[in-house]
Amino acid sequence: MQNRFPLRALFLASAIGVAAPLSMSAAWAETPAGTLVIAHQIDDIISLDPGQSFEFSGQDVVRNLYDRLVDFDPLDLKAGIKPSLAQGWEVSEDGKTITLTMRDGVTFHSGNPVRAEDAAWSLQRAVKLNKSPAFILNQFGFTAENVDERVSFDGNRVILQLDQPYAQSFVLNCLASEVGSVIDKETVLGHAEGEDFGNAWLSTNDAGSGPFTLAAWRPNEAVQLAAYADYWQGAPAMARVIVRHVQESSAQRLLLEQGDIDVARNLTPTDVEGITGNEAVKVTDELRGRILYMGLSQKDPLLSQPAMIEAMKYLIDYKGMEASFLKGQWKVHQNFLPEGYLGGSDENPWTYDIEKARQILGDAGITSGTVTTVVRDIREYLDVAQTLQAAMAQVGLTLEIQQMTGAQVLDAYRARQVPVFIGEWGPDYADPHTNASTFAHNPNNADDAGLSQLAWRNSWAVPEEMNQAVEAATLEGDTDKRVQMYLDIQKDYREIAPIIPMFQKIEQAAMQQNVQNWTSGGSVSSVMYRQVTKE
């Protein structure tokens, strides 16, 4: 803190000397009472179609434009899935049929009533559209060919026929994800072009029943939402929500300190620390589902040695990073299921221990070696990579860092060409299977399998027992048993896996004192605005 003063004093002195009367705007502005203004990095949005959107910021928008059959309560995320457009559901005896009953009197933004037909069509559409998030629904055996029969409606009931008796929590968690959003069928079909199910139009427009309507989306600039006055849970307190794209943390902080925005969502740890002394703003910590992990490619002759995998776990300065450049925004977490998820484990057995690593490597006869890491050009990842680099150097290992853009890294990663990968994984939906199926499941380790699992990308042939355990966990109806199954999988995983979870994300949203009930969506969901108020 005291560091800041010399610079500011210097600036002030020189500036006052230059020309004080030039002032053209008040030093401290305030945002309008009914408007929530947020600074956020939103340049990743490529579509606002719930059947296509799969980016963090896009999902933030979709979640507020649409309702789903079942959903989370923004004020009580821990309570789990609650009824939403479906006021209730039933599971058949054999566990393969789920029937959801629609709520009456809900209307879309267009004024059309929300019907079971719309809900069924929305799911069918997502499957047929077959964009990125479609796999979330396809897990239940839906395909473009069979989805018209498997998802149907009858009066005010939507009927889902699954291919396996999946755990009810698994199915509902998936329905609560953005791809399960209920879309206004009539409106969208009116804008369809060819066979696109209205995708082109819906990418930049909204046809939902959610608490907000889309007022404007200017890519890389801003998203503006307007409150939907007839929202079935009551109109939101905020008449307008404006999300402004601001890339730099320092710029977000300046905007916040000047009172030009209400919430800043991408402050770095140092900027968060920098504003803690400011009485006008507060910071909320929220545990998110994202995991920062290190993947060791099993194609690499050095990295595939068990001793190497073991040693690497001790070469990560968990506490040191957590206390320095990751401070407050990442917590040590050495399991693939995030805290807050069903079955999440909080056992963190590894510590930073150069001696132990050296011993493990020495026992295996490894005294030197060079590996490459490909890192996305994000500050935190680079810092993690450099810290690892320094630690590895102490045991005779050389880590060569190549920083690349997100697209390039992803390209190489998908081609299984990244020896050491350092990056994040964000869960796709609120069920533990989302992470289990990617970290600990790899049915085909062949190069041409073209899978998307992290295990596959790191060329890790997951042991058959673990593959089966992961699949079995989706079918366990008893929640307690299911939790135990995941705990067991994670225990085994920690022993052998070359994909090493390191940290879990804590989102620090900084906001004006008068902003209440803010939530970024916790570890299971996306941001929700309808409950936010300003005093």
């Binding site: 730099e248 900027d271 620390e273 050009d377 810092d383 060569e400 190549q402």
Partner: protein, 302 residues
Amino acid sequence: MTEMTTRAWLLSDAPQTRRQARLGALYQGWLTFRANRLAMVGLAILVLLVLVAAFAPWIAPQNPFAQDLAQRLQPPSASHWLGTDALGRDILSRLIHGSRVTLFIVGTVALIAPVIGLFVGTVAGFAGGWVDQVLMRITDIFLAFPKLILALAFVAALGPGIGNAVLALAVTSWPPYARLARAETLTIRRADYIAAARLQGAGPLRLLIGHVWPLCVSSLIVRAALDMAGIILSAAGLGFLGLGAQPPMPEWGAMISDGRSYILDFWWVAAMPGLAIFVVSLAFNLLGDGLRDVLDPKEGPR
């Protein structure tokens, strides 16, 4: 020969030999240059930079790669004259080692770009006709291209790294040299002594290499000297955008990029490398300006 007579010999307005004339001209140039105090400051800074780069391991107080997370973001103090960065590395030591990187970038780009430009420009100007048309059209295309974006595209295509950044900068900065070299060639080509050399049976290649190139070089050198600062800034810009030098290499541009997330509270992390870049590119600019005064006296302050 005493100092005074050497000087007189150099300054003689009636030189007796070609060597005396040439050395005399050089000495005159040096005197003009020396009289430009700003240019001398620039030269001094650059000499210092070269010395620092040459003796970096001996001068640097600490290992530029040694991390100490407990000592991160320390303000300038007795133990860390310029403070420490986000990983607790000594900024001064990194700056000192970074001078090597900067010199490497500047040196290489300033070597490659003018050479490509010289080759393309003189060939175009000398050959004329469709060769000229084609080469100049290509030059125009590269000129019309948004420069930084072209560099970005190259780095993206070749993969990040200091070598590729240098290559990308070189590839994007040759067209002005080509046009300059072509303009010079067109004037030289019409000169009588070229006609004379041609009459003596000199082939086009010989004319190009023996007569045209040496005459183009001086203006290209001035241009390159003036460009050096631009090259440093472009390289820093690439670093700022996350392409360019790879960590943990202490490249100055990348260091600003590292430090910019801490600029509000820990200003020195970004300010020190920013200052270093500023000082060095200012030095290059002062030097280039002084050089231009010497070689093109009508531009100077008189």
